[in-house]
């Protein structure tokens, strides 16, 4: 008999109080999700693992070779078993789409599999051991026909040998060039878009006809000299207003590097877009306006030069190329260059950039000086033999890519249908691969919606250059993965979803413990402080529900337990509650998923890293 929905407040009064039995026999409806449709609940409710008594444990990241090949019959039978195991569960399977993973069948919960357990069970694998093997599909018709074939494809493809092979081929295909993601930042009107547009033109990525056409169009529109910026600012509004509003992507190849460019907006209001661009980057190009007065206003407290540099550092970017632009208006004066370089040098050092990871070069984006051809001696005697901008970009070192870690593909855009989607019923997800690799035929799990999908097609930024990559996407690339699968619903996809490997799914919650480094806050931060949590491509409102400790910024020692408030420039450990669950991971496991920024009232308030995750708390506050 189905019980009526009982109001049950999950007392998150913490760890020691947890009774392991509390998680048993929890009817799915007991979750205090008032008035939430099953589909939504399916998407957003987090299920606790009975084995760990409600805590989320990080399953040990498996070495790819450890995954034993799954025999085709066992998973299929196992799934059917799961479908009928236990009366409570079978009743729930009857709900169309209402089966999140019911807690009464705990270990199939995809998010909380302890892979060790799973492996042991698989090793002892008997078809009757229904709780082993694969997670229960979220829908009854999840015993998809291609599952048997698909699983074995994944199993064999997931073996270490194949992964390493594919990656080697991919790298070979790139030539001796390494891929690097470069984000272009700087104060508004520093000339970022023009600089990049001109660079693309000089390196042959854009034809002269196009530039000529843009030149005529923008003169007609009353904005002469914007023709290079129009290469990247393609939307009507951006061209009309003369500002970049969203991150533009393009690609260029230098002698040793294949560079993915991300041109960011400089305006204060568009910083959330800039954050999503910078999260995907390995290095940054900071563009400074050398014109007298402009540099000063950009570098002031209200200007974006500081904020962008701070954000870049906070998001983990370690290498910086500073292009001091518009030197033609400053008449290529060495004193001006030196003045700017010194002022910036002091500031960047205080932000945390190591001086040998920062390089400077004078350029003029509009004239195209010192971009890829060195400056002539008459124009600029003091820099005549210095490196050009392209030389400096060439010297950037790409970080190590974690291809052997489980797949995490972060979705920033979704579109259905169209050519990119590879056919009807498929959804094209555009984003970045943070770790691991994916190829057509793989089975993946979409989180937080908790849906199984199959990869139909893959295009990636590295693919165009590397002919031998064989249509796969590796860690560090951005690209599109088209997925389909039984009952794939485009409504479940959206920016912020993560496609992850089925065996080691990405954790997903709305409550977490984090370490924050507070920047300049206008008010002290107390319990109940509300801000906006920016992670990768999404932002959600967040509340600080507890201040756990204040930590010394440099030594990491505990200064005060349970502080009443925290002031600027302090480091603290806090507990946060988000308005909706996000895919997060502890910083030590995944750098990209574990770092975030807090912003409030248009100012960046704190940079943070995730220390631990807590089970989702979906209770509503009482009035």
């Amino acid at each position: 008999i189905m019980s009526r929905r009982r109001v049950k407040n999950i007392a998150l009064n913490d760890d020691e109080d947890y009774d392991v039995d509390e998680s048993f026999g929890h009817s799915f409806e007991d979750e205090p999700a008032f008035g939430v449709s099953p589909a939504t609940a399916n998407a957003y409710l987090f299920v606790r693992d009975k084995d760990t008594g409600g805590r989320i444990t990080q399953p040990p990241l498996p070495d790819v070779k450890e995954e034993p090949p799954q025999s085709a019959p066992a998973p299929q039978m196992a799934r059917l078993h799961v479908a009928t195991a236990g009366p409570a569960h079978s009743v729930k399977v009857g709900f169309a789409g209402a089966v999140a993973v019911s807690p009464s069948v705990p270990s199939p919960s995809p998010r909380l599999l302890s892979t060790k357990q799973q492996q042991q069970q698989q090793a002892a694998s008997s078809a009757s051991n229904s709780r082993s093997a694969s997670p229960a599909p979220p829908r009854k018709n999840g015993a998809d026909p291609d599952s048997a074939g698909g699983d074995s494809t994944e199993a064999s493809a997931a073996s270490a040998a194949a992964a390493a092979e594919a990656y080697k081929r991919y790298c070979a295909g790139l030539g001796d060039r390494a891929m690097i993601n470069l984000v272009i930042i700087g104060h508004v009107d520093a000339g970022k878009s023009t600089l990049i547009g001109h660079l693309l033109y000089l390196l042959g990525a854009v034809s002269q006809k196009v530039i000529h056409r843009y030149e005529q169009e923008c003169r007609k529109a009353g904005k002469p000299s914007f023709q290079f910026a129009w290469v990247l600012d393609e939307s009507e509004e951006e061209r009309q207003r003369g500002v970049t509003m969203d991150v533009a992507r393009s690609q260029l190849s230098t002698r040793h590097r294949l560079v993915n460019l991300l041109d960011c907006p400089g305006h204060k209001d568009f910083i959330p877009n800039m954050i999503s661009g910078a999260m995907a980057a390995d290095a940054a190009l900071l563009v400074i306006n050398a014109t007298r007065g402009e540099f000063e206003s950009g570098f002031d407290q209200g200007g974006q030069t500081r904020e962008h540099a701070l954000l870049a550092r906070g998001l983990g970017i370690g290498q910086l190329v500073v292009a001091i632009n518009k030197m033609d208006t400053a008449k290529w004066s060495e004193t001006r260059f030196a003045e700017i370089r010194d002022k910036l040098g002091v500031y960047l050092k205080s932000v945390g950039f190591k001086p040998d990871c920062v390089s400077y070069c004078p350029v003029s984006g509009l004239e195209g000086a010192n971009l890829n051809k060195p400056l002539s001696a008459e124009l600029c005697p003091w820099y005549a033999s210095g490196p050009t901008l392209v030389d400096l970009i060439d010297r950037l070192t790409p970080p190590a890519r974690s291809v052997d870690k489980p797949l995490r593909f972060y979705i920033s855009e979704v579109s259905t249908g169209g050519r990119g989607a590879g056919g009807s019923g498929a959804v094209a997800c555009f984003g970045n691969a943070l770790s691991g690799y994916a190829a057509p035929g793989h089975k993946l799990l979409l989180l937080p919606a908790n849906q199984r999908v199959a990869v139909k097609a893959v295009t990636s930024s590295g693919q165009d250059a590397s002919a031998a990559s064989g249509s796969a996407i590796f860690a560090g690339d951005s690209g599109t993965i088209s997925v389909s699968g039984g009952g794939v619903d485009p409504a479940h996809f959206g920016p912020g979803s993560v496609l992850s490997s089925v065996t080691t799914p990405c954790p997903c919650t709305n409550r977490l413990r984090a370490k924050l480094l507070l920047l300049n806050v206008s008010q002290p931060v107390t319990k109940g402080y509300q801000a906006i949590f920016h992670q990768q491509a999404v932002s959600v409102p967040v509340t600080i529900i507890r201040l756990l400790a204040q930590i010394n910024k440099s030594t990491g020692q505990l200064e005060r337990r349970h502080p009443r408030y925290i002031l600027s420039n302090c480091c603290a450990e806090v507990e946060l509650q988000l308005d909706r669950p996000l895919c997060l991971d502890v910083y030590t496991n995944s750098r990209e998923l574990g770092k975030f920024m807090l912003r409030d009232r248009g100012v960046t308030v704190a940079a943070g890293t995730v220390v631990a995750l807590r089970p989702t708390d979906s209770s509503q506050p009482d009035l």
Partner: protein, 401 residues
């Protein structure tokens, strides 16, 4: 709300009869009716009658019932109040002690009988029956793809409608028409929401707030549509629209909207703006001189014992607690601050500033002179569960970023 009748005895027991006129009055009623009071009102009762032939028929009968309150439920979106309790007075249709749920209706008077009318409740009655009309505002905060349509009254901030549309970002080889189409869809939904949820008769001002250019685009779209559809109401109310900058389209941005100087004159007598300012004062005091800004019950009470409180900020949710001792405690605090010539600001839980104060334990104070903070080790905060981690927290040795 209109006051029909008020009869309070020397021993503070008595009854008050009120007539609610608009949804906000229901919120005031919610703050007045407590468990243990008696509520009298007309209500519908399903009465089953059996006639001679034995057939049972039931019909709804309107009758006046007095109920001994056992539980109170307030629905924020619909602004309706449901009071459940046992019948306390002889009635032709309902037995004594039978359970009944009264759903308070607008334009029908009700009477509250309390054993003890404390100062806070009496103040609330005064406030609810105050004739001066406060400004009602509506605000639309939006960003690309997300918008909230809200109604701000003097004691409530209600989110009437939330619009979320997936707007594609720029991509290589990008079709800017896709972005435009999605934005048009977004504006269309906001426009529908605006027409449906905003009552231009009551609202004095419609605020459009967004970062970037979204608000300007929406403003143009709105009136283009209005002219196309010949929407006279909207066109007449065009001067009520005000464009303001906010940092995001989330609900929190409402706080910034209320602080904006451009609309300060329109908001002059709104409680919402006063509350926001009071909280901002508290935070700035906390920043500049922390020993003059206390929060948490024990701290504030200790400060009060030394007659140190200049401004007391307290959330009305504390007065809605079901335990009479707790209510008495807070009422005592409020009374004693007033006696010592301090100011008391009672925050409504439905405003964003009230929510923030709730998170901050619900009570805070700005002091006249600095005071030593009491030892934290024996403090048990009302609203925050104690940290069960004990000494298990471990700190990595390198700094955060």
């Amino acid at each position: 709300m209109r006051l029909i009748h008020k009869d309070i005895n020397k021993d503070r027991s008595g009854q008050v009869t009120l007539l609610p006129e608009n949804p906000e009055d229901m919120w005031h009623a919610y703050n007045l009716v407590r468990v243990g009071d008696r509520l009298r009102s007309t209500t519908l009762r399903k009465v089953t009658t059996e006639n001679a032939a034995g057939t049972v028929s039931s019909q709804k009968q309107r009758t006046t019932l007095t109920v001994l309150v056992e539980s109170v439920y307030f629905d924020v979106q619909g602004c309706s109040l449901q009071v459940k309790g046992r019948n306390a007075e002889e009635n032709a249709y309902v037995k004594m002690g039978a359970y009944h749920t009264i759903d308070l209706e607008l334009q029908r008077k009700f009477t509250i009988v309390k054993d003890e009318w404390d100062s806070v409740s009496l103040d609330r009655v005064d406030e609810a029956t105050d004739i001066a009309r406060h400004a009602d505002l509506s605000a639309i905060v939006m960003q690309e793809g997300l918008g909230h349509i809200c109604l701000i009254t003097s004691s409530m901030t209600l989110v009437r409608c939330r619009v979320e549309v997936n707007v594609p970002k720029k991509r290589k080889g990008f079709q800017s028409s896709q972005l435009d189409k999605a934005m048009q869809r977004f504006y269309e939904q906001l426009y529908q929401g605006l027409n449906k949820h905003i009552n231009f008769g009551i609202v004095k001002c419609v605020i459009l707030a967004s970062p970037g250019f979204t608000k300007d685009d929406f403003y143009e779209y709105c009136f283009r549509q209005a002219i196309k559809e010949d929407n006279k109401v909207l066109i007449e109310n065009k001067p009520k629209f005000v464009l303001v900058h906010s940092s995001s389209g989330h609900r929190q941005a409402l706080k910034e909207v209320l602080e904006d100087p451009n609309i300060a004159n329109k908001l002059a007598d709104t409680r919402a703006a006063l509350e926001v300012k009071a909280l901002a004062d508290f935070y700035s005091m906390l920043k500049s001189d922390p020993s003059r800004a206390f929060y948490g019950v024990k701290h504030v009470e200790m400060a009060n014992e030394n007659h140190a409180i200049e401004v007391l900020l307290i959330s009305d949710s504390l007065f809605r607690s079901n335990k009479i001792e707790e209510r008495r405690r807070f009422v005592k605090l409020v009374d004693s601050v007033r006696e010592n010539a301090g100011q008391v600001r009672i925050f409504s839980s439905l405003h964003p500033s009230g929510e923030q104060l709730n998170q901050l334990t619900g009570v805070a104070a700005i002091l006249r002179f600095p005071m030593h903070e009491p030892d934290d080790s024996d403090i048990d905060d009302d609203y925050g569960p104690t940290d069960g981690d004990g000494n298990g927290l471990d700190y990595p040795t390198n700094a955060a970023s």
